[in-house]
Amino acid sequence: MIFLYAFLVGGLICVVGQLLLDVFKLTPAHVIVSFTVIGAALDVFSIYDKLIEFAGAGASVPITSFGHSLLHGAMAEGHEHGYIGILMGVFKLTSAGITSAILFGFIVALIFKPKG
């Protein structure tokens, strides 16, 4: 069942992105930036957590979950150390994603030749 929900929720989030591209004529960069900010905003009241519980990877694979994990890391440290903890925790949970993106992006760029 989780697979069906993942498909539906993940697909719907992408449809929202497509509508922003087509109807509101946003550039791809604006779309992913808005999604990141929306993901963080939805997590202020823990709405995005519930979506991840419900849809699994359908909510954790789209870029909205990047904003959500940034805020989650910030809050985890924030609860322990107060406001200064926010600065300490922002990258805590997203470290794996950012590090692998830099690492694999760099290695692929070294090995492959640009196409087109």
Partner: protein, 152 residues
Amino acid sequence: MVKLNDPKNYSKNMKSYQPSVPYFMNCLKAFLFGGAICVIGQSLQEMYIHSFHFTEDNAGNLTSATLILISALLTGFGVYDKFARYAGAGSLVPVTGFANSITSAALESKSEGIVLGIATNLFKLAGAVIVFGVVSATVFGAIRLFIEHLLK
């Protein structure tokens, strides 16, 4: 008489010259491909949890890392950009689109060298995501912490 180069009606007059957007088909493609990527993500996550016995949080991180690796490789082979032309937002919104933007920006500027080309341009497109993500997370985090202090 309709003046075509009348600046007041420019956007109206230009409309007939712009290709019409197939809204429904684009949304359907985005839905199917975006959903499919999430199903792949879910399968990877289940595999990491049940076959390799990772905790749910670690499995989530590993899933993103795996998807990023796949996306970076496909970008290197030139496959992801063809896929992106077809799938639209279905390829842009999942985390694979983030990896694609990093890898393709680095690949494009490879000719300028490793330091000034690849390393400098790696975050050309993805930098905006990180900047806005970090700024919004700090602001929202401070707001939430403030509200929690008030409620205590």
